[in-house]
Symmetry: C2
Subunit: 430 residues, 2 copies
């Protein structure tokens, strides 16, 4: 499109990318948004796909359907390989796109701290495929246990280790406990699913470390009520087909035989961060995130912005901003508005992004959640209702909202998780 308009390219159609596109939608520019997937994924509910309540399509919406009314916007399905600074080009596997302004919001991926071989054994939860793989493994564990004769093997199949006590780990552990104690009741003739052992291993001294302490305590009590064993100040230091080696702060180790290890700890920035460093000399932090200036651009390149999980930026108090959707959305909107103003010829010098924390929340099982809404801290059923409505609000596409709400109601009333499929069964081998 060589019509002389300012060309903006957005990389990633997660929360960051979509909010940048939204901020830019009425601008007189040529906007291109590139993602390697054809859908926006509502990651906060991914654990519900992994545990059989929702289907992948319920929390995903095609990017080009979301943006079809944005007349200035072109959607491309492509894989970004790097940035060519000299020619102001974004390189894709499929070709190259020229840009005048670039907003990078590619997100993050699961980190195994250098032990990439663990990925096969202990799947993380970042993509739709991760979620259906975890779902297949959880369900296949019970199926295989039903066929098994040897007690030790049954015990290994019915032992679940969740590494990481952040929101994802807490939500996964709670959901697995409910599957074992409620959903599967009366469905097996040989094993008793309720005998399953669910371990939640957390390195820090409490669950949900970014949350107020009272909410952490509440989450712990709720999980324990569901029968989850919580190991604080413990870490999974090795995983294998047989199980997980768990070490406490004192260096004492125990080996837990388990066929089901889920990895909800450790996140690293998209590899695009390293590509950007190679191209621009920008600095990366330990997690591979790009250190950005207060206006979310990178040093020496005021037209290149990094927002969301791949950006490393401190708040006014000098604390690093967390890798959550709220930060990505607010940074993206900020960067988008900045580009709009620049195109309009308005002054943008000296602008600084400032984050407004609107709170955080996590569910623990069917009708219980903890919610930190700043002035208000909710737990139990009120927390769950707050969680429910806020999540529904942010799900893209009206039909998905209805489908999700119906399936939640159904689950609430019957304990039945309606999306209990083992697909691609070769991946579920335990």
């Amino acid at each position: 499109m060589q019509n002389g308009k300012h060309r903006v390219v957005i990389v990633g159609a997660g929360f960051g990318g979509l909010y940048a596109a939204k901020a830019l939608r009425h601008a007189d520019i040529d906007l291109t948004i590139v993602d390697r997937r054809n859908f926006h994924l509502f990651q906060p509910l991914l654990y519900q796909v992994a545990t059989g309540v929702l289907s992948p399509a319920n929390i995903a919406a095609p990017v080009r359907a979301i943006l079809k009314r944005n007349r200035n916007t072109r959607t491309l399905l492509g894989e970004v390989t790097g940035v060519d600074i000299e020619r102001s080009r974004l390189n894709l596997k499929e070709g190259a796109i020229e840009f005048d302004s670039l907003i990078l919001a590619p997100g993050s991926e699961t980190s195994y701290f250098g032990n990439d071989g663990w990925a096969e054994i202990a799947p993380g939860l970042k993509t739709v495929e991760d979620a259906t793989r975890i779902r297949a493994r959880i369900l296949a564990a019970f199926e295989q246990a039903e066929l098994e004769q040897v007690p030790d093997r049954i015990r290994r199949l019915l032992t679940f280790v969740v590494a990481g006590g952040g929101p994802t780990g807490v939500e996964l552990a709670g959901a697995i406990a409910e599957i074992a104690r409620h959903t599967l009741t009366h469905e097996f003739r040989t094993i008793t699913p309720a005998d399953s052992r669910i371990l939640l291993v957390q390195g820090g001294e409490r669950l949900l470390q970014g949350y107020p302490e009272e909410l952490s305590a509440n989450a712990q009590r709720s999980l324990e009520k569901l029968g989850v064993e919580i190991l604080l100040k413990h870490k999974a230091v090795d995983v294998s087909e047989r199980g997980a080696l768990i070490r406490n702060e004192a260096g004492e180790e125990q080996f837990v035989e388990s066929a089901n290890i889920l990895w909800a700890t450790g996140v690293k920035a998209s590899p695009l961060g390293a590509a950007l460093r190679d191209a621009t000399g920008c600095e990366l932090d330990r997690a591979g995130r790009v250190k950005v200036l207060p206006d979310c651009s990178i040093a020496g390149h005021p037209n290149i912005f990094v927002v969301g999980d791949m950006a490393s930026l401190d708040d006014a108090q000098g604390r690093p901003l967390p890798g959550v959707a709220q930060v990505a959305m607010q940074q993206a909107a900020f960067a988008g508005r900045l580009v709009v103003d620049r195109v309009k010829g308005r002054a943008t010098n000296g602008r600084k992004f400032s984050y407004r924390d609107r709170g955080s929340m996590a569910t623990i099982g069917r009708a219980s959640a903890v919610a930190d809404l700043g002035s208000m801290k909710l737990t139990g059923m009120p927390g769950w209702l707050a969680w429910l409505f806020i999540h529904l609000m942010y799900i893209v596409e009206y039909d998905n909202r209805v489908l999700v709400l119906f399936q939640w109601c159904w689950y609430y009333l019957t304990w039945n998780r309606s999306a209990r499929l083992i697909t691609n069964p070769e991946e579920a081998k335990l």
Copy 2:
């Protein structure tokens, strides 16, 4: 379970297996049902998963959830490898199960008439994975076309060849036409999806050959109205990455460049048929189906029944029974009742299965279908409403019925297909 009860084993949890289990549910027996998948799949709606209207979980229900109230029934996830006649055992990969009566309902799979290499290029539509693969390919074709510059390549990407003019082929071709002409409108900036070419290749002289002629003619008109090109008396005789070689009755050939070939022709029985022949000496027909006696048992083994797609049996007029759900359900119920009566000591000699044809139907697009209900033949909107209610009635699990109905209404009102995900993108490479 060595409690002296008569042991019945059912293989397969499709329509046949479930109806056999239903017929046997109150009997004083030990019943085991084995399937290699953990869910019953409502195959008649699989094309709606392949074309993005429904999610896999909407047309699948966990076998053990369906049967959890059947106290005499044990569900196993296992892969059957053969039958050991001497020891009355069914061999599984996972072990062996003894039986007194055996009901085999393993169904059928896609046949490439000996050209198994075509499977990668021209996927069939038999499993959930087939459906999500086809969905990924259809969507990825449009995505790749949007990135492409060379007109010939764009044309190849936007040419869809459906081989086979039975219900599946008709339904797929109609749905693809609607995706191209309606769903994707306004979503692309470079290509015009409505320019897509959709070919339906049918060997016979009309579509839907088992149906009354007037319905075939109506289906053809409806598809042509949607812009589908129909090639009757033509066959795809070779397929490759580049496209399909199509030959007519006179032996004239044309090569159609296409990145999207779908295989809706050719079905063969489960390989378990051959295993059964090796074990019992029973006869197979050309499609690998087991020739059964009028009571659905195999010659010389009155306690082994074969029902559904793997059974070969003629009706009273000497015509082979078709491979449809109705036949499987009725045969399975027949065999199940026969076993119940035998266990109760009632005479079962000389019983013969007789098929009652309740009609057949196929949809053509959003609000049109042909339905042959015996005395009544419906087309257009009435046909579609009949199709809709009959299909809803047979979907297992109440929540799936609601979810399917909502998504149909949504699609009916907006043309929007809400499950448009390219998952496992490495499979979608064109």
